[in-house]
């Protein structure tokens, strides 16, 4: 039985107004687990707190209350020096805009994650080539980000995220800037990486993108609203259930408003 890679326990995040009651509550006692080898989607309407959650998990933002454990370590207890090291060794990131360094070639962008980790030099070229081969970007390795398509960029970013063999890969709206064909290719890539052993947590508002996940966690107004497991559904079936769920979620939001 694989252990929990990510444990989110009663996480609360408030912005501003520490003195009185006018604080904005972004997250309000959210708890969930992600097991090793899972591919989890986090969904919710705009302003639901899903991005805040992802920032907290990725150690970029701090919590007001609660705990987040990744690979058994409570990240809220880490000092800022340890945080950088923690991100480097345990986390991989894929952002909405691929965030490749425009001055570096694709190969160098992927290798950078390894050089920061101080991986022995002789290992680096082989590992980069191997990863690029698997993700189908071998032929663009020596191009610059501006010379390749958005889909290729995102796959390069995915390669950079997983090449350090992190415990957890965090993806923030990775298909947000892609057309549907590129989105499909990227999600296939994620599925492949997941089969190869990566644990992925992906934030998205798009039901199609979410349908590639094993499990969807819904967040609304900073609280856990519910979750869906794919179980044995085909992707189309799962997609239909997600759409239904989001419709209900959206409806409640509108009624509440």
């Amino acid at each position: 039985m694989p252990g929990h890679v990510l444990e989110v326990e009663n996480v609360t995040k408030r912005y501003g107004g520490t003195r009185g009651g006018n604080a904005t509550v972004a997250l309000d006692g959210v708890s969930f687990y992600v097991d090793e080898g899972e591919f989890v989607g986090v969904m919710g309407p705009s302003g639901s707190g899903k991005s805040t959650l992802l920032n907290c998990i990725s150690t970029i933002d701090t919590l007001t209350d609660g705990a987040i454990r990744i690979a058994g370590r409570d990240i809220t207890l880490l000092k800022s020096k340890e945080l950088a090291q923690f991100r480097r060794d345990q986390l991989g990131f894929v952002f909405q805009d691929s965030n490749l360094l425009d001055t570096l070639t694709v190969r160098e962008n992927i290798a950078l994650a390894l050089t920061i980790q101080k991986v022995p030099t002789r290992e680096i070229p082989a590992r980069v080539d191997d990863m690029a081969q698997r993700l189908g970007i071998a032929e663009v390795l020596d191009k610059y980000p501006y010379q390749i398509s958005g889909g290729q960029k995102q796959r390069a970013a995915a390669a950079r995220a997983v090449i350090t063999r992190p415990s957890l890969v965090l993806a923030d709206e990775p298909t947000g800037a892609l057309d549907s064909k590129s989105s499909g290719q990227l999600l296939e890539t994620f599925e492949l990486l997941n089969r190869l052993g990566s644990t992925i947590v992906m934030v998205t508002h798009d039901a199609f993108t979410a349908s590639w996940c094993h499990r969807i966690i819904f967040i609304k107004d900073g609280r856990l609203w519910g979750q869906l497991r794919r179980q044995n559904d085909t992707r189309d079936q799962f997609f239909a259930r997600i759409v239904a769920a989001t419709t209900r979620l959206g409806g409640e939001v509108r009624n509440a408003g």
Partner: protein, 699 residues
């Protein structure tokens, strides 16, 4: 309405404008103070004897002036461009709100006008203050009684400054207009999202260009060393052009070269953030290479002018100290060497010549007989002692000396310092008894000279190495029918009062070798005055020189202790003022421009550093990369500048030797250290500020 907007803009973005304003004020202050010097009469007040130095100085000042204007124009346009770029989004907003492009141009021009007027006012005020302060500092450093540096407000310089900067502002407005006119609204709107487009150059090309740059610089060094500085020759121009082209190419290609070389060394390239900072460096090279080249050349100019200037001053002071053994020295010249015919030609001295002849070319007798004609006190009242040295041609030329020793003067003296055909020039000879009398007059021991020996007397720094080499070879020469062998020790003492040592390889020979029937072509008279008579004697000498009374002795050159010292200290103040002043301001300007550039780059790269921090690079690693990046930007122009300076100093030393022995001395070391401290301080401030800008902050 537009004016109101422009004024509000200037106020609003005061922090951004501050950099621009600071640059302008600095530039104006420099320009005014510098030109008030160049225009002032200070230089012209140097004694008549310094004519050659003055010409050299005027040449340098002119060259430097042009250079300064170009640098300032570059500085202003650059700083302005930095400012305009930052505000693209603001301009876009105006356009979306329906403002016409023409109005936008007017606003931009008005802003330039406001800043221009303000910076001119402040800059001129600071320039005035700065020039006074620096002048006093420079003056007190050397001599409290500085003759010839009188500081006043120079109206000419103010007019020149205003005109020059008006022109520079006009260029700025043209540049702005071009930028705003060309840019499309969509580009302005997206300005901060779009990364500065960088054209990638092929790395092998960079590699080749770097080699070419090094070769060009090497060739220009060789040209400069071979041809020297004194005579502006085609080779000198070629060296100047080559070194400029080479330097620009160097900075154009150096980042690509570094990147290529490091890429070949995988363990280095794939370590930490090396890859990132080298790529960053190379991506910036397109926008930075011009400024880095100009900065390197500017630092070069600054260092050379300071070292050279201080060297000249020290050499002159040393010569002056050496050349004040007598209260006065008088030279009478009766004939001139004609280089074309290779013969002495008597000068047209008319009645004065006859007067000299009637006194047997004895200067003491002749001058004593001249006192009555100019209503001076009697000779004996004024003079305690006097000794004369007669210079006659020895019949031995430099070429003969070359034949006897196998050593050519051209191998010892810097190129360009000697005219061609020196080999035919005959050396002077003087009798040892006269030589010893002038020594005794200065309380020096007489020298011993055997019957078949001669001594080489040389006090000119320019030829001191040559004289040493000749004496060491102990050649035997036939002088006026006597075979004589040289003493191995050179007589390097200065036996006259002068600011510039100038005796080149004079042969001191036994008395019997002198043909008394041949009249000397020139004579030197050293005089020690009775106490308190120095001034009277000086005015007597000048009266004799200017007198048209035929009963006065012909006098060509008069040098007294007080004149030599005044000339030397006046010159000292002017040169050191110029050198230190230009040097310091140039260094500050360079450092300021580098600082602006690096801070802009850091601001543009915040997202990159943020990403790297997210990827988990520890802060120390990021700081290290930033330190190396900014360090290279500051270090490389400095290194290139120092290399150029070291080369140029080889040539400058030759020039300085005209004035005496070179002593770069503690003064220039102190100045250089001060330069480096200022430069280093700019670097540290830039680094710390940039580090704070890119520091990854957790929300």
């Amino acid at each position: 309405m537009l004016a109101k907007l422009a004024a509000a803009n200037v106020r609003k973005s005061a922090r951004d404008f501050a950099v621009y304003f600071f640059t302008l004020v600095l530039g104006i202050a420099v320009f005014y103070a510098f030109n008030s010097i160049a225009d002032s009469q200070a230089v012209a007040r140097i004694g008549e004897d310094g004519r050659k130095m003055m010409e050299l100085l005027a040449f340098v000042i002119n060259a430097v002036s042009v250079f300064i204007v170009v640098i300032l124009a570059f500085l202003v346009v650059y700083a302005n461009r930095f400012l305009i770029r930052r505000r693209n989004k603001e301009f876009a907003l105006y356009l979306t709100l329906g403002m016409q492009k023409g109005d936008l141009l007017k606003v931009s021009a008005l802003e330039t006008l406001f800043i221009g007027i303000a910076s001119l006012a402040v800059g001129l005020a600071i320039g005035l203050a700065l020039s006074q302060v620096l002048c006093n500092v420079a003056a007190s450093m050397f001599d409290s009684e500085v003759e010839g540096v009188a500081f006043s407000v120079s109206v000419d310089a103010i007019v020149l400054t205003v005109v020059a900067f008006a022109a520079i502002f006009l260029v700025t407005v043209v540049f702005n207009t071009g930028h705003l006119f060309k840019s499309k609204l969509i580009d302005l709107l997206n300005a901060d999202r779009r990364n500065e487009s960088f054209k990638l150059r092929s790395l092998p090309l960079s590699f080749v260009l770097f080699i070419v740059a090094c070769v060009l610089i090497g060739v220009s060094y060789k040209l400069l060393m071979d041809n020297g500085l004194l005579e502006p020759s085609p080779e000198f121009m070629a060296a100047t052009v080559l070194v400029c082209v080479g330097t620009v190419l160097f900075f154009y290609s150096v980042s690509g070269f570094l990147l290529r070389v490091t890429q070949m060394i995988k363990p280095l390239y794939l370590r930490g953030l090396n890859m990132f900072f080298l790529r960053q460096l190379s991506a910036r090279a397109n926008s930075a290479f011009v400024s880095m080249s100009v900065i390197a050349l500017t630092l070069f100019l600054a260092m050379t002018s300071v070292c050279g200037g201080i060297g000249i001053v020290n050499a002159m002071n040393a010569s002056a100290a050496n050349g004040t053994k007598y209260d006065a020295s008088v030279v009478s010249t009766y004939a001139m060497w004609n280089y074309d015919t290779g013969e002495l030609e008597p000068m047209e001295l008319g009645e004065f010549g006859a007067f000299a002849e009637s006194h047997g070319y004895n200067m003491v007798e002749g001058l004593a007989a001249s006192t009555a004609a100019v209503d001076a006190p009697s000779w004996d009242d004024m003079v305690k002692g006097a000794a004369q040295v007669d210079f006659r041609l020895s019949g031995v030329s430099l070429g003969d000396l070359n034949d006897a020793t196998g050593k050519s003067i051209y191998d010892f003296v810097g190129s360009g310092m000697l005219s061609d055909g020196m080999d035919e020039q005959q050396l002077d000879c003087v009798s040892v008894s006269q030589f010893n009398t002038v020594r005794e007059l200065a309380n020096l021991e007489p020298i011993d000279l055997g019957e078949s020996e001669f001594a080489i007397w040389n006090d000119a720094a320019l030829t001191s190495d040559y004289a040493e080499a000749i004496a060491a070879a102990a050649p035997s020469l036939n002088i006026n029918g006597h075979d004589l062998t040289a003493l191995r020790d050179v007589q390097d003492v200065t036996l006259e009062t002068t600011g510039v040592t100038q005796r080149i390889c004079v042969l001191v020979v036994p008395d019997e070798c002198i043909d008394e029937s041949v009249m000397p072509w020139t004579s030197l008279l050293d005089v020690q005055c009775n106490d308190g008579q120095e001034e009277a004697f000086q005015s007597f000498l000048h009266a004799v020189q200017e007198s048209s009374n035929p009963d006065t002795y012909p006098v060509s050159l008069i040098q007294t202790v007080s004149e030599v010292e005044a000339q030397s200290s006046g010159f000292t103040a002017v040169v050191s003022y110029l050198a230190i002043y230009i040097g310091f301001v140039l260094v500050i300007a360079c450092a300021a421009i580098l600082a602006i550039q690096q801070l802009t780059d850091a601001a543009d790269s915040v997202r990159r550093y943020e990403l790297i921090a997210k990827l988990g690079a520890p802060q120390r690693m990021i700081d290290g990369a930033l330190f190396k990046l900014i360090g290279i930007y500051f270090l490389f122009p400095l290194l290139v500048g120092i290399a150029h300076t070291l080369c140029a100093m080889q040539v400058v030393i030759d020039v300085v030797q005209v004035f005496g022995y070179l002593d770069i001395g503690s003064m220039s070391v102190v100045t250089m250290v001060a330069f480096l401290v200022v430069y280093g301080a700019y670097f540290l401030v830039t680094y710390v500020t940039a580090r704070n800008m890119v520091k990854f902050k957790r929300a």
